[in-house]
Amino acid sequence: MTVTTSVIQVQVNDKPVECPEGQNLTALLTTLDMPLQATAVALNDDIVARSDWDSTRLNTGDRIALFQAIAGG
Amino acid sequence: MSYVDVWKLLEWDDIRLSIYSKTATDVERALRKPKRDLEDFKALISPAAEPYLEQMAQQSAALTRKRFGHTISFYVPLYLSNLCANACTYCGFSMENRIKRRTLNTQEITRECQAIKAMNFDSVLLVTGEHERKVGMAYFRQAVPAVKDQFSYLAMEVQPLDQDEYAELKTLGLDAVMVYQETYSASTYAEHHLRGNKMDFEYRLETPDRLAKAGIDKIGIGALIGLEEWRTDCFYVASHLDYLERTYWQTRYSISFPRLRPCEGGLQPKSVMNDRQLVQLICAYRLFNPEVELSLSTRESPQFRDNALPLGITSMSAGSKTQPGGYADDEPELEQFSISDERSAAAVAEAVKQHGFEVVWKDWHHAYSG
């Protein structure tokens, strides 16, 4: 018997991205090659604490915003 | 957090030594600076500054003109009671002194107010001894609104009260409170305050903090010059002012410099301050703080007051009676201290005018108090 994981569509910084259903945030960031340090994540306008990334699973239509530190005064 | 915490970190002897170690160079530097700090104040009240008195006076006068113009505010003390539960060695009202005690009733207060109004005053300082039970909040709740009804500005000099009591009196019309620490040396303070609530040094020291937190418009502080080494005590006053201004930046402040006067009790000052030194102190305060009100009472002679007036003073009392009922009937035996300038308010006003100043009888309107 084969088990297939369905693929869902989410938005990352307004760009459509496909990922396996139920994937957690940590995995998504890794897939996108985002450094896990120095990154902040908001899911549907709510900030997700780093400690919750592993347990936060994505659903269709989720809007993820990723932030990182950049140069500034 | 209150000034008590700051006071605890200061060492009386270190400060005294520091003041006496100031040199002519320190004084010259202080005079040159546009803004002076507490170290500069020490230099300006030190013996090393005495030869620079004229220069200090010139600068002090100029600073005062810049901030206050040619105006002097007049106020009058209204003694409501000489009942006292403290025994202070330097005061005519000490409970140990056998004097006739009197507390004015409402009618008598009204008569005093009428007499005062006839003298043209609009700013009154209510004074009592310190008797919590017989002349406490219940009495003040009557007296404050009664007097405030007649005058634009009301100050009090009574026993230290709690913050909520001050807040309540503010709603009844209280504008300002004078509370002098007498001396900032706790050990000397204990020698002079032998009975009663006034023995509590720290509660008294914390009073300006409570006043500021209660939102009182103006707070008057000072030391009774002569109880202790005057330069050190006056430094503490400057340090107290500095702390209060930084912490309660929306409050106004006033400094007085009463020199120990003879009274029924006959205490000799530990440290004598002569006239030159009083001028030096007035100028030092002004050079240290261009905005603070500096108030000169009738403890000083007419000649001194008239001449010191342009140097930094912004507030004066006149025609004062230091006994309860003194304006309506004059009875010398009850005086708290004997005054030196016995001229009438009108005479002092005329002298002030001759010196090129305008008397401000009223600088407040009750509408501003909301």
Binding site: I70 | R29, L31
Partner: protein
């Protein structure tokens, strides 16, 4: 040594990371300046077009991070940005800056005060960037900010201490450290701010846009140090001319 909240600094020169040609130059200039507190912004990542990693060299240099909320136009956005920054960088230190005006980048005093109060409540160490308004600085201090950061002149203008008269008042009245931020265009401006009694200065454009940013970083280091040394040594001050008039104290010579 300068203490702000839970940290102590031996350098009173704070620096920004913006406007450099590349992050290597940025890191080297900051290291040359010996600055121990560095600001940075937070931005949405462009997944396809990554920015330089500015953090790695800074963390390696051991500097303290001070994320800012630039981009926020009101208190709500600033609070959100602050929380993102805290998550991303693991620090509760924050430079609060809210400038709804994109032309002159003037800080909004009302939104800043509102945001400051909330952020202090949420446990941030708030360093608010504001105009050199003495009353505003007292209000920010009262709501619990760890320092105040009044501007010397508009951001990036390099005009120096246009607000010096007000900075003097702020420095005189403050009970928290005063960091002059924005407008410092030359080491002499930084020295002037320190001579006035400022606790620190924050410099970005003047170093980043210099022809030789490394050398300029060093120049600013020296300026901040010398200005502070002069302040502590007790400046001599200019002569105050007294008003010429007849002697005011002659009356004391007369015996009564």
């Amino acid at each position: 040594m300068l203490t702000i909240a839970d940290k102590t600094f031996s350098s009173r020169l704070f620096t920004g990371t913006g406007k450099y040609a590349n992050s290597q130059t940025m890191a080297e200039s900051i290291i040359a300046s010996e600055s121990e507190l560095v600001t940075m912004a937070l931005k949405r990542v462009d997944i396809d077009n990554r920015d330089d990693d500015i953090l790695a060299p800074l963390v390696a240099a051991g500097v303290n991070l001070l994320p800012n909320t630039s981009g926020a136009k009101n208190a709500k956005e600033a609070v959100f940005a602050a929380k993102l920054a805290r998550e991303a960088l693991g620090t509760n230190w924050l430079k609060l800056e809210i400038h709804p005006d994109p032309k002159y980048l003037m800080p909004d005093p009302i939104e800043t005060l509102v945001a400051a109060e909330e952020l202090v409540r949420e446990g941030f160490i708030v360093l608010p960037y504001c105009h050199a308004d003495p009353v505003l600085c007292k209000r920010l201090e009262e709501v619990g900010c760890a320092a105040v950061m009044p501007l010397g002149a508009p951001i990036g203008s390099n005009k120096g201490l246009a607000s010096r008269d007000f900075l003097e008042i702020i420095i005189d009245q403050a009970r928290v450290p005063v960091i002059v931020d924005a407008g410092i265009g030359a080491p002499s401006h930084a020295a002037e701010a320190m001579e006035m009694g400022a606790d620190a200065v924050l410099v970005n454009t003047a170093i980043a846009a210099a022809a030789d940013p490394l050398a300029m970083g060093k120049a600013f280091k020296l300026a901040a140090e010398s200005g502070r040394m002069a302040y502590e040594a007790g400046l001599a001050g200019t002569v105050n001319h007294a008003i010429a008039s007849s002697p005011l104290t002659a009356f004391l010579d007369q015996t009564v």
